[in-house]
Symmetry: C2
Subunit: 446 residues, 2 copies
Amino acid sequence: MTVNVPVSNLPRLVIIGGGFAGLTLARKLKRADLQIVLLDKNNYHTFQPLLYQVATAGLEPDSIAYPLRKILRRQKNLIFRMAEVTTVHPDSQEIETSIGRLRYDYLVIATGSRTNYFGNAQLGEKVMPLKSIQDAFNLRNFVLARFEKALLTNDIDEREALISFVIVGGGPTGVETAGALAELKRHILPIDYPELDLRRMQIHVIEAAPRLLSAMSEPAGEHADKFLKELGVTVWLNAPVKGYDGVKVELGNGKTIRSDTVIWTAGVLGAPIAGLSPDSLTHNQRVKVDNFNRVRGYENIFVIGDLACLPTESYENGHPMVAQVAMQQGRRLAENLMRLQRGKELQPFIYNNLGDLATVGRNRAVADFAHFKAQGFLAWVLWIFIHLMNLVGFRNKLIVLINWIWNYITYDRSIRLIFGGSRFTPTASSKSSSTTSDRKPTTLVL
Amino acid sequence: MTVNVPVSNLPRLVIIGGGFAGLTLARKLKRADLQIVLLDKNNYHTFQPLLYQVATAGLEPDSIAYPLRKILRRQKNLIFRMAEVTTVHPDSQEIETSIGRLRYDYLVIATGSRTNYFGNAQLGEKVMPLKSIQDAFNLRNFVLARFEKALLTNDIDEREALISFVIVGGGPTGVETAGALAELKRHILPIDYPELDLRRMQIHVIEAAPRLLSAMSEPAGEHADKFLKELGVTVWLNAPVKGYDGVKVELGNGKTIRSDTVIWTAGVLGAPIAGLSPDSLTHNQRVKVDNFNRVRGYENIFVIGDLACLPTESYENGHPMVAQVAMQQGRRLAENLMRLQRGKELQPFIYNNLGDLATVGRNRAVADFAHFKAQGFLAWVLWIFIHLMNLVGFRNKLIVLINWIWNYITYDRSIRLIFGGSRFTPTASSKSSSTTSDRKPTTLVL
């Protein structure tokens, strides 16, 4: 079966993935003489930097995601299809998808990255990732349900395990999630759960490297560490995770922490598509590309965003897997595809790092820019401003801004519904937290 | 196992259900000398009148639901537990719940109603209800996924079945849902799906009675009929549904309509709890109560809201199952429980109907009040005002108002994400709509 797309005389560009890279590319090609087919397994674009706020009851899923059809509705040369792509056949210039086969003239793979469990399958079964809207939604429900469940037991240790949280990974997502949980602990949970002794609620951040935010400057990492400690978060550095059996997290230094909820933000792997030459993959599943984001060995297949690995002098292992790089690669590739059609020479991709930010909580953030660094309130204001500006759509900007102002003034967060079906409903039968049936909501079908 | 609640010398009032009835009762008892235990299977109160807007991509689930702990956080005499109640044991004054047994001095059952399939189990398997946040969320995902799926086929009949909608029931929910779908068809879908011929999108409302909105005045029903027809909705009156096999709806008059989506708003049954005397149940599963909402034969068990059936001269079959009655019964019972404690005489419940409203779309609504009736724009403004005022929480009011203004000005609705896991993802394998695997998302665990 062939994917049902209109007949066209124009060369067909197929873009797989509507994340920052694929979406930027598609939009920049608005005037190109191409038939663009954009495929994504979701019908929306996710603003990943704010997923942690969905997971911690600060924002609604719909506020940080945006329907792709709506973003692209005025783009006449583009067709969107909701589909998962399984295989590329470079010889016949075709891809196989969940909705049929599709021929391409140019192919751009922008499928991004997925959570890395470092080959530890047992871990992957027990921990909670935070990479998608669905992950964030599951995590919110799971976290809120822990507190309802904690009320059902008088066993102090069990209760403590239920209301304690371990975040593995001291990158921006880990730091921001820990900060947001610490503020829930401070301002909201004591009022919602007067029966629980929230001093026993522990929040741990576990990082294998010697410091937090290792992709940012040293002062940024140190400030994040200080801010987290001020909020009551325990930070473990030089502490690789050895295992988690659903009850206890075991660290490399022998320490164990009992917790029902382990949030895994420790790293990502590329999410390539089968069919490319195995030589083109790096050890962490990214695809090796040249300066023009072309996959080595193929004339008309490109990879952009997290999945692309282009080692340079400054970035020996490829660029950081962040939105900024993805958007810049999308923009450059759009130019290059138009140059290609006009027979002009291609321009190499050069990354221009505009700066990095991470927030730890109200009035607390860290920012690294080319010419200055900031910490605390100024960085926090910059963080808010830059995130708002980059959200897609005016309505989303407005709703997020109102929610933020509301949360800031009232010290509250309103999005506290648990609606995940019976798996999230506390029941008396589950004696120990290790044997609960709701252990792994991430694999549930919504 | 016993439910873990603090020890108290006060008499214990257990309220089952945090809907309009139970919540009003709990709040009005703020100063009562009672230990109140409120149980609900969800941790939130649902504003049911706006569920249809969640189902039709107008509002986010979190905007019309409100965490019960947050509403009741300042109420010192109340404990909330998230639990499902299975059985009442009037002899031992105990209830059985998913989190253990609980003794009561007074019991108030406010578990409301559930969808009535009129004993047709086959129907219940194939149609989509609209009674809960989960139902509304499922319906939104299902409806949006129909359009993605319609793009995959060139079979005209199959495509028409995919993008056509049958709403069974011409009460307020049915009328409002049909109106909202008609506006999606008019303003949003043509832009999102330029490849589909949306003239082939049919919306049918099927009503067994001779007119729409039979609980309201005749002019209201006639205007709703006219408004729906103006919006392109087909209205079938005197048309009981005989069956639906997942492909075709069969009407009593012999007519069949092919549709992938049948939304069932045709009626409700009481949702009683096992253990009450069978004599106390009516034919439609409501519980017979006296003037004080006391269940006949029990001194200390009360039923309020949809579940209570109190036949009067004006309402031979009991009061209408609507929010207004529920709130008034909650308020009156609160007064009576306090009178009971003081040894005073109880006051009978007398329903004061403040008016009924239903909206059909932008600028179109119908309103019946004691002293006047309104249709069109004025009724629509009243509808908006009254619904906003009754939403719980200032933030929800504000977010809903902004969404409404936004939707009104832009003719748009932004909440169009499909995020329901793989069941909502279109696949090529499903040849005919009758054999799709995503037929019944309502039973999925989120």
